[in-house]
Symmetry: C3
């Protein structure tokens, strides 16, 4: 796509791909296995939203605001605090105002709308009201029960075309040289697709739990994960907490690591003195002397954009397929881009030394995890996992059974997973990732003792312990079975008290007879001889 | 109680109930089992506080301040920053000051004091000094070694009668239709009572640990858990952190969930621009475009008060007794009140859809927990818990033994609890509650993978694993015992090397004799025949 | 050292000790076991730093700034925000400015530099630029590839002599009366030394992980752990987050405990209104009505300094050697100093009661841990740890094997550690410390249920459970071995199907013969008699 193309041309091309089921739109390949719940309509509105049939009226632009000021004042209040309410406020900003950059953005928005035929040539955009996003840009009225929509990224993208194009470009950026990941993933642009094509997500009968996962995997569908509606505050989206709603927790604790890094403590202690209303590209000039999620991850070779995956190397989780290819140019180029990012505030030597520490540290964790994987797989191959032969139900379709699989973090029945498999599932899907994320975000406790390394070794200890005990137990069972079998296949079997008593009696009788026989023989013999 | 009653009438009635041992005052039904430690006097001053005998003087109002400016300057400094220091500052607030509402409150305080005979009709209240709270309202002097008191809620309530009445009304609000909880609980108003009537709390020999629990369970006794002395800052009490001292951690992680919800990140990113000195009821007008603990939990049908339990449904922990009755009008009315709360900022459809997601999600977690409960109870019934028959001491009185009981989180000896019971105790008392709190506070990671569902399944995996292994072990022991028994009841027992050797010898002899006998028989036979 | 000594005398003495390998400088006693990685040069620059050979030029004072404004703008930006950029700004502060104290400090810095011969008598210090710290104070130019240095504490100490002397005095403060710890430890002053003399740290082959530990253990080498370069903001160093980079996590969660204490929530809710640019000694006057890490730990008997260990009693972890000696004057004097600290804002009675609660609570946790220790040691002594006899590799030198040792948190192979040892290692090194830190920082959940007591009891339950199960398993194995042995040493062994079949056949033959023999005997006998 030519960067100089008409806005409409670009927008139409983006939208076509955005809604293409072949390219990630829709319910995905497991569509037949799951159904939306009522709340799903807010997670993927273009698929599931239907206007409520409780409000039966056609409302004008002003009626929307008036009525909702009464029934949902919080919305209107937030919108009132947004730039959308009165765009003339932007036009009137003095050129030396840090927010003056918005004047250019506004002109661009108008250009986009005009190219799309949604704004007359000589009419300035006055406001973006409820009706523009929730019915149609520039609409004068809408039928509440019929026309109401919840905006997806394409709706925002009609005005904010550059940002839309940037975020959609993530699909092209991630073209893994050794097919470590499907094209375009992992990314914000395809995160709903990734969610619904996860077998266990589609398989789970507990849809209210499953849709909890979806609550973060909606960047594909919406811009409001980062840009909270309806204020769409630049400050809010610029601060690390914007990312923290999703980027936290047992398997991607980026926020926690950042907060405990030097980077984060500078944000915590000095952040209040920064002017957060400027674009991230201008943040240093605005007094920001520390990095945020945004300042590192939205940057690439000195330019900032909504494509956040241009420097992705280790992706979601460390794997041999990545570790073994880090010297491939695709990865080396990205590493170079990171060095450039870090050297905003550090020397190139420092950046190189740290990135080497990070890569080596991740590889060390990966080795530990891969060793444990072998132990689990061997236990499974040997049929030695507790209950493996007697009580291991298969997970629901379309999920398939596997030792230590991802599904075992979200489904359990009988002895699937066994406790030791669950240890391993947490090891690869949580501890190894925390190890990597701690290293990547420079939180020492995150890869040494609190999370990461020490926890990986705890898993190793537990897994090896289970391995030893399960094998000893199996040997014990075999020994015992042998003993039992021996007595069963032998002339007499002693496996019940009755048999034991009979045997005792028989033994006594037999011995008595034997002794008697010997005695009589011996008694006779001398007499025979005499 | 008539809302139009004289302040004195209302106050006297409240105070009578407040100090009534039949209605929750005092050491509780387990009083004989525990004794206070020195620090207990600060946790329940009306029961345990005695003035120190180190300062033997009668001090005037001014002497209190003067002396403590030297010996505990922090107190005096905090008090100096409070509204209590100079009430004329309130009287002089211009009407358009956001804190002008305090003028009405002050007039009300004066009305209360006059009704109680503690302030003359035509004398304005000038200040609330050390002596007013720590000796008696309006006192001119006090004997430090005799008159000194630490204020309880009734002391604060003499001035702040409305707030006192509101918080005490929690006792009446919680009248559970199916007796899910004792009347008035769980609530701030009876939280000390709930604490001292917990058997393991009274039973624990480690009083310094037990009084750690009490440190939060003092809202019944004091207002300072939320309103930190001696500044009593409105801002401090209005912010979520005020609640976080108690509402955090493994079995009630509300604060953590809030911080990682969209609600919390708006507080974190935009909270600095809010004027926190206004009452919570006016917060939106003061620029607050996000909810806090206070704005949702102090609200009921549009009114704000210190009764925080009017919308309580799931209480402290999800149980079948609640899950099975959610369609009872008592619960449905509360759900309706929640929809009204949420629709301040969300549509009614959204609120309903989310509350349904929450309820269903909680029930899904509850099913998993109840299944595990059966496994634990069956293991206990079958006597198969490790050490159950050989090394399971009873907990100290008044606690009583039970598999997976609450006491097992705070007491352990020998094999009580067994490891698998402890798993279950954490499952129902921690993970299930975190699952619920994550859902209730809209933190996706809180009910899907970091806490909640995935952790409940980990418990399931571990409990089922233990179940399988303990039963296999029991079977193995039984098999082995059978084998041993067989050999013991048989003619010879081989359970010691000595016996084995004897048997070996005996076998050889016997065989020798038998062979000899046969041989002699056979030798003889031919000769006989010949 | 005489406090009135010339700055040069004091500085020279401090520096001599600072660089003395006999007193903690250098790679330590395990030097032969480990090698630095590239990043190590930033962790101990005086040992490992070498200027990069990529920039081959001699630069002037101004050239440093100019060039780095282009290649690492973040540095220059931070420096630009620091007091170092323009010292005249300090000289021009009006006397009533809260930062006016800096005028005296600046005069002192000049006195120090003059005493060291680094500043002429009548020349005022104008700035502290790149070159002063990274080449030499007052240098006009430096060879980038040869003269470049990274400053250690001695470099900072040339100007900031008092602070340097204070922090170095920690070596003298900790003179443990019963040798609980080596002299001067645990402290910031010797934290690198402590790190490199930890056997497992030196032993670990994974140097990138090990250097993660070092990242905090660099206070000995540098001042920038607390005073983030290059802004050296007083505000940043004064806030609790400054300490949080290191003082967090599973084995020293001071920050987490503080944040959830009343102390911390006052910081969180009211901290924004404090003027953080004043020295900590003046903080209350600057509106700070709550304690921070700094205000309690830098204070001793009313004086503030960079010696932070003057009130240390329980040190890093509770041990019997400390618990049993708390009534020794050395400990009692420190307790008295704590009472004085707390009584800034609390009564002496309150402080005493709380410190008693803390000490007793810690001792209660210690008892639980020591009981578990005995169980682990007995299992080890009895050879009953899983894999102990078959699969327990020794840790790498210079580490040595021990049950439940510290090294088991950072190294694992085969069955070393066993799972139950790892439980115990976490119990003593993490849970007991969290119990203590929760008590010490007044976070109730920190020593009752979330961390501390309840977790210690979980360990107890798991360890006792393992003890019971391992001993039952050993008994079972012994029984089975006895049964097998009996059958092996007996006339016939039944341990294979072949033998069982043979035995069956033999038994049949033998019985047949015996019966035949008896029959023939009996047959004959009558005929003989007849």
């Amino acid at each position: 796509m030519d960067r100089g193309a008409e806005p409409k041309t670009l927008y139409d091309a983006l939208v076509e791909r955005y809604y293409d089921p072949e390219q990630g739109y829709g319910k995905g390949k497991y569509a037949d296995f799951w159904e939306p719940i009522p709340f799903s309509r807010y997670l993927n509105p273009s698929l599931f939203y239907e206007p409520p049939q409780t409000v039966l009226m056609t409302a004008t632009r002003q009626q929307c605001v008036d009525c909702h000021t009464g029934v949902s004042p919080g919305w209107v209040h937030s919108w009132g605090a947004s730039a959308h309410t009165d765009l003339d406020q932007i036009r009137q900003l003095p050129d030396d105002d840090p927010r003056a950059y918005k004047k250019d953005r506004l002109a661009e928005v108008e250009r986009n709308l005009r190219s799309l035929g949604k704004l007359a040539e000589d009419v300035p955009l006055k406001e973006v009201g409820c009706i523009d996003c929730h019915v149609s840009v520039g609409a004068t009225h809408g039928d509440h029960a019929k026309d109401l929509r919840l905006p997806d990224a394409a709706v925002c993208g009609a005005c904010h075309l550059q940002e839309f194009a940037e975020r959609e470009s993530e699909r092209d950026t991630l073209d893994w040289p050794q097919d470590q990941w499907p094209k375009g993933r992992p990314s914000h642009a395809l995160d709903y697709h990734a969610n619904v094509e996860t077998a266990i997500w589609a398989a789970m009968p507990q849809r209210e739990v499953a849709e909890g996962c979806t609550m973060c995997h909606t960047n594909q569908n919406s811009c409001t994960n980062c840009h909270s509606r309806h204020e769409f505050s630049v400050e809010q989206a610029r601060k690390p907490e914007a990312c923290s709603v999703c980027h936290n927790g047992v398997d991607h604790n980026e926020y926690e690591n950042y907060l405990l890094s030097k980077h984060g403590i500078l944000y915590k202690t000095l952040g209040h003195s920064v002017d957060w209303s400027v674009p991230v590209a201008d943040s240093m000039a605005a007094g920001q002397s520390f990095p945020t999620c945004q300042s590192c991850h939205m940057e690439y070779r000195g330019k900032f954009s909504h494509n956040m995956v241009q420097k992705v190397r280790w992706a979601f989780n460390p794997t041999p397929a990545i570790a073994d290819n880090l010297d491939h140019p695709w990865f080396e180029e990205r590493r170079g881009a990171w060095v450039a990012t870090c050297s905003t505030c550090h020397s190139v030597s420092f950046a190189n030394a740290y990135l080497e520490l990070m890569d080596e540290g991740i590889k060390q964790g990966l080795i530990v995890e891969q060793d444990a994987k072998k132990v689990i797989e061997q236990l499974h191959a040997d049929g030695l996992l507790p209950g493996q032969e007697s009580n291991r139900p298969a997970p629901p379709a379309p999920e398939e059974d596997a030792p230590g699989g991802f599904f075992q973090l979200f489904w359990a029945k009988g002895n699937n997973p066994s406790a030791v498999e669950r240890e391993y599932a947490e090891m690869w899907e949580q501890d190894l990732i925390k190890h990597y994320k701690g290293l990547a975000h420079v939180n020492p406790g995150g890869w040494t003792y609190t999370d990461g390394w020490s926890q990986l070794l705890k898993r190793t200890a537990r897994i090896n312990d289970a391995d030893t005990q399960l094998r000893e137990m199996a040997a014990l069972k075999a020994d015992l079975a042998d003993l039992k079998a021996a007595q069963t296949t032998a002339w007499f079997s002693l496996d019940t008290p009755a048999k034991q008593a009979s045997f005792g009696a028989l033994g006594m009788i037999l011995l008595g007879l034997g002794v008697a026989s010997v005695a009589s023989s011996r008694r006779r013999t001398p007499s025979d001889r005499s």
